[in-house]
């Protein structure tokens, strides 16, 4: 049983000055901040977490209120469980529209400066975007770390797969990953001998199996090389059957729902098919689970409704002397007061948009000039079809399996790789199914009664959506910036995003479309894919139309490297310019390959936490508590 009857020590801002000295101030309660808070606290350090959002979902009651809110919304977009909080606003896809050339749309939280309009989102809530994430947790491929050396594209990482391997294992433990090593040993991915994941892999959906029945064992050819196809299960950060062989035979105890009193749910995934935007039973990992452990040490304090607004630097030493923070009292009112928060180390753990936004709003562009540059996100291309037989779509986790054999290969000299998700939730992402299907069948199809019921079965239960997650390489002109003309209600500058989908990615997209057609042909599936020119994500490549969706896998904006001139942070995610400031998260990643970024950024958080503990050890003896 996951007894997480933990008490976060809520800090009364009025007494913050008297609360003693903090070894670390962490801005953001998402997965990176949570792991670092917990690691530092377990090592005896005192930590303050500064969170812009309310702490609504820290309690089970609060978490459940998100769920009720979700049920009650007619428009169930991927942020629909989370009520609007204009003091700590977040991007919402419903606010977007296509831009005219040179037009800027500042009506959405992220100011879209184009030309491409991204519907990427992140969630400003207690626990960060892990409250919303799908929890797919593949590792990056070893070749992803050497893109420049091996393929003459993008950047090399300053570290290699091997340097992160043990931290990947730590991240897989913390998140609670369910997968089978034998399914995940493909391309050049390796595991340490005798390693097993904490829990056994989740079974493939019936839909996956129907796809596999027709394509497993078939091949595609690309630039003269043949690639075998197979539907493979994805590793997932949600609870399944614990593997008794884990941890040298000690096994693994899944962590269920976090609550301020005892409940008993979330020990195992129930198949709610709602990983995004919210798992109703908390079988999916969210950072609140790590935070509960951190709070339990008694050494971690939480300051919520606290929006970090400026990083203050001592100009002589470059060291951070404090973080100016705006405290609001009510999400419905911009009334606030401003305080200065101080500690020994400072950790910005926002995300690859919020962290550089705060740095740039503080006038800190990095000596490399790269703060906010190299913004990356996976580009998604959706392809949808009707299977020839009933597949029972709309059941499972959001996605259990996919085609990953083209995540790597020699073709990367020419075009982007992709990983293909088989969506268990049908065409929803592309068309608003199945509600849109019912509306169409009733209003345009003039169906009711038995005709309608049968038509719904035929239309929905056969749906197949292949989502191609396509690699995007770093490009300095794809970036987050700030502009004093665009501020939020508290007067903080909002992020301005300028983005062009690179040709390298679009070549991958063009091949992805061909690939989808090939797969549909092998399945005998009816292709219904259509890209609407009025779509805000509409782009063309060599005359061919595509609608590209954002992937919510933001990265690259405070890039990690080997020197101060060409990177923002070192291999421990510490700023070259400010030796007591860490910028953690996917913003440090030089490239993202075709791995959803959370597992890798979680692994890097363990690496950074170790370095922080060493640095604190050098600076002063631990505070006695």
């Amino acid at each position: 049983m996951s007894i997480l009857d933990r008490r976060a020590i809520m800090v009364d801002p009025g007494v913050l000055k008297n609360s003693g000295h903090y070894d670390a101030i962490i801005v953001g309660s998402g997965v990176a901040g949570a792991i670092i808070a917990n690691e530092l606290a377990q090592a005896g350090k005192r930590v303050l977490i500064v969170e812009a959002a309310t702490e609504t979902d820290r309690s089970f009651k609060g978490y459940s209120s998100y769920l009720q809110h979700f049920y009650g919304q007619a428009d169930k977009d991927n942020q629909s469980p989370f009520p609007v909080n204009r003091n700590a606003d977040m991007p919402r896809s419903g606010q977007l529209r296509k831009l005219d050339p040179l037009e800027i749309n500042s009506t959405s939280y992220i100011v879209q400066s184009g030309p491409y309009v991204t519907d990427t989102v992140y969630t400003r809530a207690f626990g960060g975007t892990t409250i919303h994430w799908e929890a797919k947790t593949p590792r990056m491929l070893p070749q992803d770390f050497q893109m420049q050396t091996l393929f003459g594209q993008g950047k090399d990482w300053p570290i290699r797969y091997h340097d992160l391997e043990v931290d990947y294992e730590l991240a897989e433990r913390e998140i609670g990953v369910s997968a089978n090593v034998e399914d995940q040993q493909y391309l050049d991915i390796t595991f340490r001998s005798s390693y097993v994941y904490p829990m056994h892999g989740l079974p493939l959906s019936y839909l996956d199996q129907r796809v596999a029945a027709q394509i497993d064992g078939s091949e595609v050819e690309l630039y003269g090389e043949r690639y075998p196809l197979r539907v493979r299960p994805f590793p997932q950060g949600r609870n399944a059957i614990p593997n008794q062989k884990y941890d040298g035979g000690k096994g693994y105890q899944p962590v269920g729902a976090v609550a301020s009193h005892q409940i008993d749910v979330g020990g195992r995934c129930q198949g709610n098919t709602n990983c995004v935007p919210i798992c109703p039973v908390q079988a999916k990992y969210h950072a609140g689970k790590t935070l509960a452990k951190a709070f339990d040490t008694g050494r971690v304090d939480l300051l919520s409704q606290a929006v970090a607004s400026r990083v203050v630097i001592d100009s002589a030493s470059g060291r951070v002397t404090g973080i100016e923070t705006k405290l609001y009292h009510d999400p419905a009112s911009p009334d606030h007061h401003t305080i200065m928060i101080t500690g020994t180390l400072y950790v910005l753990a926002g995300n690859a948009i919020e962290t550089p936004r705060l740095m740039l709003a503080s006038g800190l562009r990095s000596s490399s000039g790269l703060m906010g540059c190299n913004l990356m996100d996976h580009a998604y291309l959706l392809n949808w079809a009707l299977m020839p037989q009933i597949c029972g779509t709309m059941r499972g986790t959001t996605c259990t399996g996919g085609i990953v054999e083209l995540r790597g290969g020699a073709f990367r000299r020419h075009q982007a790789t992709f990983s293909v998700d088989i969506h268990n939730d049908g065409w929803g992402w592309a068309t608003g199914s199945p509600a849109s299907d019912v509306v169409e069948l009733v209003d345009a199809g003039n169906k009711f009664g038995a005709d309608l019921r049968q038509a719904i079965i035929d239309r929905v239960s056969r749906q197949l959506l292949l989502a191609f997650m396509i690699e995007v390489l770093p490009s300095e002109s794809n970036r987050v910036s700030v502009n004093p003309s665009y501020t939020d209600l508290l007067g903080n500058m909002r992020p301005v995003v300028s983005f062009t989908v690179p040709d390298y990615t679009l070549r991958g997209a063009a091949y992805a479309r061909q690939f989808a057609k090939t797969v549909f042909a092998r399945l005998g599936a009816e292709d219904h894919t259509k890209y609407d020119p009025s779509d805000y994500g509409f782009v063309t490549y060599e005359g061919e139309p595509f609608a590209i969706r954002g992937g919510n896998h933001l990265a690259g904006t405070h890039v990690m490297g080997t020197d101060k001139a060409t990177s923002v942070v070192d291999t421990n995610q510490r700023c070259w310019d400010h030796d007591n400031l860490y910028l953690v998260g996917a913003g440090s990643m030089p490239t993202i390959g075709t791995a959803n970024v959370t597992l890798t950024l979680a692994a890097m958080a363990f690496r950074s936490a170790r370095n922080m503990i060493m640095q604190l050890g050098r600076l002063h003896a631990p505070v006695q508590t």
């Binding site: 007894i3 009857d5 089970f60 899944p254 009193h261 005892q262 008993d264």
Partner: protein, 349 residues
């Protein structure tokens, strides 16, 4: 009378059967009450009922594991395994009955009686004289005039019996743990209710399993929280009566945690201890209730297979239980003709 209540393997099997019968018997009342609560309302009450119900299912699994370990037979399909509600369970008062009905103040009183903490220290003091002629599930194994004061004491006697019988067997170079290990249900197959399920194959694993049941249920020594910090059923329900959660360090009867608001009205008015013959025959509703009972009977047969060498079937049992949830909710929202009450499963197996 000997010091030990359970003096033969036959008696042990009989008491373990009663244990399974008892654990199962509490589930339909708790689950009926749980689904009588309007969704979205009374989240606290619903979570507490749910947590208790899934732990009762864990306890049923544990009792079956112990039964299999000591060479007994697990069979949920035998006549009389499912009681006819209302039914008698052990308690300090001989006329106390458990039934099927909606969540409410009276129901809560009953739950507190079911989960009442043990009072007796050890041995014979566990027994209470039976007054009147009621038949009890948890009567004394060989003295029909005695029964146990609480479920905790009933289990304590089983634990003592196992220790006693095994030491006797060992003295003769034998063991009472003659069961097939392949029949044990372990944590891979059943995960709710704490997920603490281990194979039973000796005195230690058996006693630990029984202690867990006692601790999760009634809290043998009037402890609110068990050794691993888990709150006992009695105190879970007590929170609803007191309108406040317990937290670590609280004294019994004086919870100091977050306030609980119970909306006693936000409940479907299901008929108390409904019987199929009270629903007009040939009505759609009659057929639906009969169907439910039939499906439940098949489910018990399925579970019986699971505990007889096919533990993997427990994985498939979970989706079936989720389907029962949907069917129960559907029945509970259907008005009975001519009355102010709603239908519900009747569990006439």
């Amino acid at each position: 009378m000997t010091t030990h209540d359970i003096t033969s393997i036959g008696l042990l099997h009989r008491q373990l059967f009663k244990a399974m019968q008892l654990e199962h018997a509490t589930a339909p009342p708790y689950i009926s009450a749980l689904y009588s609560i309007h969704p979205g309302d009374n989240a606290d009450a619903a979570q507490i009922l749910r947590a208790v119900a899934v732990e009762e299912m864990l306890h049923l699994t544990i009792a079956a594991n112990v039964m299999n370990a000591v060479g007994g037979t697990v069979d949920f399909t035998v006549a009389g395994f499912v009681p006819s509600y209302p039914t008698v369970l052990p308690d300090g008062e001989h006329d106390f009955e458990v039934g099927l009905g909606p969540f409410g103040k009276d129901a809560l009183e009953t739950y507190l009686k079911i989960e009442r903490p043990a009072m007796a220290p050890r041995g014979q003091a566990r027994h209470v004289q039976i007054k009147g002629g009621a038949r009890h599930f948890i009567s004394h194994p060989h003295d029909q005039t005695l029964r146990y004061y609480s479920i905790g004491e009933f289990y304590a006697a089983i634990r003592d019996g196992i220790v006693y019988l095994e030491s006797e067997a060992k003295a003769k170079g034998k063991t009472i743990f003659t069961g097939d290990r392949a029949k044990q249900a372990t944590a891979e197959y059943y995960y709710s209710g704490g997920g603490r399920l281990w194979p039973v194959f000796d005195v230690d694993s058996a006693c630990r399993a029984i202690d867990l049941v006692i601790e999760q249920g009634e809290g043998e020594l009037k402890q609110i929280f068990g050794a691993e910090g888990e709150i006992a059923h009695y105190y879970r329900f007590d929170q609803l009566q007191k309108g406040r959660y317990y937290q670590i360090g609280d004294q019994p009867g004086q919870p100091t945690g977050r306030e609980i608001h119970v909306n006693w009205e936000a409940v479907w008015p299901i008929a108390v201890n409904l019987k199929l013959n009270k629903i007009p025959e040939k009505s759609e509703l009659h057929a639906a209730v009969a169907d439910f009972n039939k499906a439940y009977r098949e489910f018990l047969a399925f579970l019986t297979r699971a505990f007889n060498g096919e533990p993997k079937l427990l994985l498939e049992a979970v989706p079936r239980m989720f389907e029962f949830r949907n069917r129960m909710q559907q029945l509970i929202r259907n008005p009975l003709p001519g009355g102010d009450c709603n239908a519900a499963p009747t569990y006439e197996i």
